[in-house]
Amino acid sequence: MTALANIFLRDMRLSVRLGGGALIGVLFFLIVVTLMPFAIGPDLALLARIGPAILWLGALLASLLALDRLIAADYEDGSLDLILMARVPLELSLASKALAHWLTTGLPLVIAAPLLGLLLNLDPTATGAVALTLLAGTPALTFIGLIGASLTVALRRGGLLIAVLVLPLAVPVLIFGVAASNAAIVGPVPFGTPFTILCALTLMSAVVGPFAAAAALRHGLE
């Protein structure tokens, strides 16, 4: 237990300190959302209608950014070997790494989303719905990303490949995240139906992600 807590605290500390780049994702999120009105025009009614989709897309892309450092940094400095050899199950170590990663890169996106909702002319209900779906859905993105990061850890050009591998797997999360946000705004489906499925996707990826990532690391680094 202390080992897991130590991994968690170490990853938290590394990402908030100088060079960790925890807030670059939020900055990227802000830029993506700002670019949208330039591309589709400052039509406030249209922006309000597609706002949830823009926020979800921005969050999805921003969560991809930090993935290539999630495991590769530990691989380069050798601490991944220690984690692999430790008596703590690799699955749990990876899960605590993913948790720390989500708290430092996913949660800031969720907190930033209501502010960006103002730029997109979202009303308070819509803003709340998007923030809630992001809170429930971004952990799934991190756990799916964990698989991609583990598969590409020892590759020289892993960063691009992660996006190609992870984005198709993230399609259901995106569909149900946007569906739940839209259900809260315009209906006709009640908000709870897609939202509970989104939560189910998150719980499922929290199980599948660490196991698949651990399998990829064990088989890939021997």
């Binding site: 598969l151 590409t152 490949l161 984005l167 259901p172 569909i175 897609p194 399998a215 990829a216």
Partner: protein
């Protein structure tokens, strides 16, 4: 013959080279019969001659999903049973699956233009097949990026199994969208909804496509074993030259 006997690549190569000519002949014969049946099949009363696109589209769609199943079984063979030929089978199936998926998408688009009035709609069925295509390309990209074949095989196996969980979810999630593509009409409760004059050529074509897949898969596996032998020889040569 138990599957473990095929673990010896040399024995597998012997078997493959014995089976390939017969499979090729059977494939050509099935295609000849199938195309003959298609030529004599009646046009649909609504769709006219475009209904004949279905005879390629539907078998390609079945194989697009079938190839991922083959890859998933091969992935289990790699990770669980450590069967030496499992990752060869998985690697050989991936480009075939991508090609069948592309064929399914392209024929569907050609049919959709006159029938639906558009090449593409963001319908549930179409979208999930497109995501399947992207996932095939992801597996191919992973195979091409990792240099060592054994390591690439294990990475691709993990990705294939995660994809196998993900595909039904995508299928289910996009069905929430309004759909234009017709539901299943051959494999359904209460028997096929297609008239026998169209169903017979369809099933013959499905058999022909299946034989085509088996032939190409066996040939691709044989090529992959040869390619690995050449690679091993080159590595050995480079090592002896360096000393």
């Amino acid at each position: 013959m138990p599957l473990i006997d095929l673990a010896n690549p040399t024995r597998f190569l012997t078997l493959a080279s014995r089976a390939l000519p017969w499979l090729t002949i059977a494939t050509l014969a099935a295609f000849a019969v199938g195309i003959g049946l298609i030529a004599s099949a009646p046009d649909d009363y609504q769709q006219g001659a475009t209904v004949k696109i279905m005879f390629i589209h539907v078998p390609a769609a079945w194989l697009a999903m079938g190839c991922w199943s083959v890859m998933s079984i091969a992935a289990l063979g790699t990770l669980v049973w450590r069967h030496p030929l499992a990752d060869v089978a998985g690697k050989a199936a991936a480009p075939l699956g991508a090609a069948f998926t592309a064929m399914c998408l392209i024929t569907g688009m050609l049919w959709g233009r006159p029938m639906w009035g558009t090449y593409w709609v963001w319908d549930g069925r179409l979208t999930s097949v497109l995501v399947l295509f992207l996932m095939y390309l992801g597996v191919l990209a992973l195979w091409r990026t990792v240099e060592d074949p054994a390591r690439a095989g294990r990475a691709a196996a993990v990705l294939t199994l995660v994809g196998a969980i993900n595909l039904p979810i995508i299928k289910f999630s996009v069905d929430w969208w309004a759909t234009l593509h017709q539901p299943a009409s051959v494999l359904r409760l209460g028997g096929p909804a297609i008239h026998a004059s169209l169903l017979t050529p369809l099933l013959v074509m499905a058999l022909a496509f299946l034989l085509l897949f088996l032939t190409l898969h066996l040939a691709a596996m044989r090529n992959e074993i040869m390619r690995r032998r050449i690679r091993a020889m080159l590595v050995r040569e480079a090592e002896s030259a360096a000393q």
